[in-house]
Amino acid sequence: MKTRGHFSLLFFSFICLVIICFSGCKNIPSNDKSSILVTSWKSDAATLHPVCDPPNSARLLIFEYTQKTLTRTDLRTLQQIPLLVKGLAEVSADGKEFSYELRNDIKWDDGSPFTVDDVIFTMKVTKCPMTNDANVRSTYDKVKDIIKDPSNPLKFKMVAKEVYYLNKYIFNELYLVEKKHWDSAGVLDNISIPEMDLPQFDGNKYKGLAEWMKGFNDGANGHDVKKLCGLGAYAVTDWKTGTYITLTRKNNWWGENDTSAYSRAYPSQIVIKVIPDDQARYLAILNHSIDADVWLFTASYLKLKNNKDFTEHYYDGIRDQALFNLVYINTKQDGKERPKLFDDKNVRRAMAYLIPVDELNTTMVKGMGTRQASFIQPMFKKYYNDSLKLIPFDIEKAKELLTKAGWLDTDGDNIRDKMIDGKKVKFSFLFTYNGADPANKEYALVIKDAMYKAGVELIPDPVDLSLLQQKAGKHDFDMLIAGQSGSGSVPDDPEQGFDSKNWSNDGSNITGFGNAESDRIIELSNQAVDENKRADLLKKLQAIVYDEQPIIYLYGIKRKVVISKKYENPGMFTERPGVMLNNLKLKQK
């Protein structure tokens, strides 16, 4: 019958297609180009512009190998080390001047020597208000000027506006750019760094600046691989948007004979595959198609750990990282739109007793989270106040505290209430979270159940991330859950999150915490150049925050690292990016 003929023809075509696909399959090579290392990343870089926004983790990873900074954090010791300078900064007696001397063996890809002018140019272009780098510019607010040493062309000093504990780290993340490459006409030579800080700075007054800035800010500079140049051992040679980025080792690179771990460049190429999905990443590891990874979810990692082939072919490890979950409490609700539920610290403490942190740790991250009692993670041993006890899940204790604070269930509906300003207010509030992350819903439901047992009604309130940030900034929330990350080498500046002025100006102190004493401690700690003194001050601040409980700290999230056993030096680290891909040397067969 003709019908069958049509059907058979179609079926035959389909089979042919499948055969073509399978014949293609045979062409898939395994990762046998031995000196090429393949890693995966969860997202693509939005841009690889050395200065302009927006930065993201993929760009930071790539810059590890394509760019250089004057100093950096040693992943192994978490101490600051010199890279392009002969030693760490010599600090002046007043703590405001930091003197450096450049190494004399550093060259750009075009053979030009790396000079102090390049450092000044980089700082200028980073601080210039016309540069499209609003995301990072504020990091360099405290830099007043960079002054060349007239007696030695390799020496210069960075002058800070004020004493600040992070001043000595200022060059840790400033990726150097070549003046000759970007500004051969010297447009920026006519403008000094202090001028760029003036509130009345007007770029249009400087001849050619606006035009030059237009060219510098051009998005193509962050995508055209031929324009991407840096002092690192690798160069970006191929970028397939959304798929992979290939870095290739440079020939005649200036650091070839350097013995530092950060100058080694064992793989001839580093291929960074973009794999957003955890299941696909898990299978890629099982297939041996990636050599190193730091993005595995806990469940996938544990599944791999039980796989014999995986343990035979991969090193693995879990490391602390500067990333933790926390619950913010709005301690200064307006009393109109949002009843004042949390102005009593007994109530806030009761909330802490009502969050089953250990259960969440077990459920969400298979018990691999590290609990913390304060805003500094326990991995910062010198700074963490270990005298603060972790608050256990204790419903009875919470009930006791709520009763003490006047919250009773007067109408028998199992929700506590209280007369506030002549009005009966129920203990019911919104628990706001980023709805895009399904894990947050789990958190909300587990906490909701626990709170209900103590007569507290939690209403889950999923919102978009941007809206969450907006609500947090405007103090338009009751309680919200979020994640926080920072540097793995030195605790973050507490001013943003805890100084009272950052609440009143709708800044980053979203809970409303703070008083004269805590503000003074923050100011002193930020000015404390001596680490021990700073540690003591931060411990005091932690004790105050702990007592006030504006934030309930849950636990730190571990980094899961896997590295193929084909390689030597399988270092796994706390600080980003968690591995040193350049240092992975293929084992001799």
Partner: protein
């Protein structure tokens, strides 16, 4: 017919303007602020780390033109208009409307002007690249996957639907119905994950690569197209199956339903009585007349192919439009969002026009001429 097509194409213009206005309005009025998102773009920036002042946001807003009024005019009350002059505040002013006209100094005008006169949809806030370049880089993958998938879906589902209708109530009809309903009920993220687990897994069948579209280590840009095609094919098999299975289920059912209705018509019985071969009856009389619902579905091919699939592209790490749109929405990348909405709207119009033409081709009784 030609005059009908011309009239329809002319009608595209006001429709497109309305689409663009709606897309623009919805995207800029959505909760969230692209500037705040942009200034917190670092994935590692937590809430506490956002050391960004209001002035910084203001500057960025000005730079992106987001400080301009949204549209050519706005309406407020007289009281709001005189806000600065507090001494003259009077309650009655709350009831007097005031229209403000901004001429060309508004966001929508700038956006429209750039499209019409410069062929530009603006610059992506995220990548800082022209939106057109962004779309060009991503579109081929979405188009390729969608069109192969549609081809397969139509190629497989039409015979299945026709066959099931021809043998209505028999084993093939019942079995295919059951199977197709099952397929239709399966969510694509689940199917995608299952396909990966079963066919890209060394513990089961390791037939296909687990992610991406090409092998970074071996792919060569200079290869002839056919070699590239053979290289890409295994990467695309699982995504295409995921794209296709749902469409097969839907189209087969539609085809069957349409064909069953036609089989009951008198003219089919007449054809049989005349002794026409069964194949001819099936494909010339039944198929052609049962095509209407399929043509309606065909109209959606163009816009659907353009936007790709967020879930499938994320799971298989495909660099298509779905992921692009998802990232744009997540980052409030207005230029990309509005461009995609507008092109999507345009392609929907094209799809419906093509469908209307196909209706006339399939059924001679349909005519668009005035006579």
């Amino acid at each position: 017919m030609l005059s009908y097509i011309i009239r329809r194409v002319i009608l595209f213009i006001p429709t497109l303007i309305i689409i663009s206005f709606l897309a623009f309005g919805i995207s800029v009025l959505a909760p969230g602020d692209p500037v705040e998102r942009l200034l917190n773009a670092s994935e590692n920036a937590g809430i506490q780390n956002k050391a960004h002042q209001a002035s910084l946001i203001q500057k960025k807003r000005h730079e992106l033109g987001l400080d301009l009024p949204l549209f050519y005019f706005s309406i407020s009350t007289l009281a709001e208009s005189n806000k600065s002059n507090l001494s003259s505040y009077q309650a009655w002013k709350n009831y007097i409307p005031v229209i403000h006209y901004y001429a060309g100094h508004n966001q929508y005008h700038h956006w429209l002007y750039n499209i019409i006169f410069r062929g530009s949809f603006g610059i992506s806030y995220q990548t800082q690249l022209p939106v057109v370049r962004e779309i060009k880089a991503r579109l081929p993958w979405s188009l390729a996957l969608s069109f192969i998938s549609f081809l397969l879906a139509f190629g497989i589902s039409i015979p299945i639907g026709m066959y099931a209708a021809r043998y209505k109530g028999r084993f093939f009809d019942k079995a295919s119905s059951l199977l197709l309903f099952l397929l239709y009920a399966l969510p694509n993220f689940l199917v995608a994950t299952l396909l990966l687990v079963f066919f890209a897994n060394p513990q089961f069948l390791n037939w296909f690569p687990e992610s991406g579209v090409q092998d970074a280590l071996n792919f060569n840009e200079d290869w002839p197209f056919l070699t590239k095609l053979v290289h890409w094919a295994p990467y695309l098999v699982l995504p295409i199956i995921t794209y296709t299975y749902g469409a097969i289920a839907l189209l087969s059912r539609q085809m069957r339903a349409g064909a069953v209705e036609i089989f009951d018509n008198e003219y089919i019985k007449t054809a049989r009585a005349k002794g026409l071969p069964e194949g001819k009856i099936l494909w010339k009389h039944v198929f052609r007349n049962a095509l209407m619902p399929i043509i309606t579905l065909f109209a959606n091919i163009f816009p659907t192919a353009f936007v790709g699939s967020i879930i499938i592209e994320t799971i298989f790490a495909l660099p298509g439009m779905g992921r692009e749109i998802y990232e744009a929405i997540l980052n409030y990348d207005y230029p990309v969002i509005v461009a995609v909405f507008t092109i999507f709207g345009f392609l929907t119009l094209v799809g419906y026009l093509v469908a209307d033409i196909l209706y006339a081709v399939a059924d001679p009784r349909i005519s668009y001429s005035k006579s």
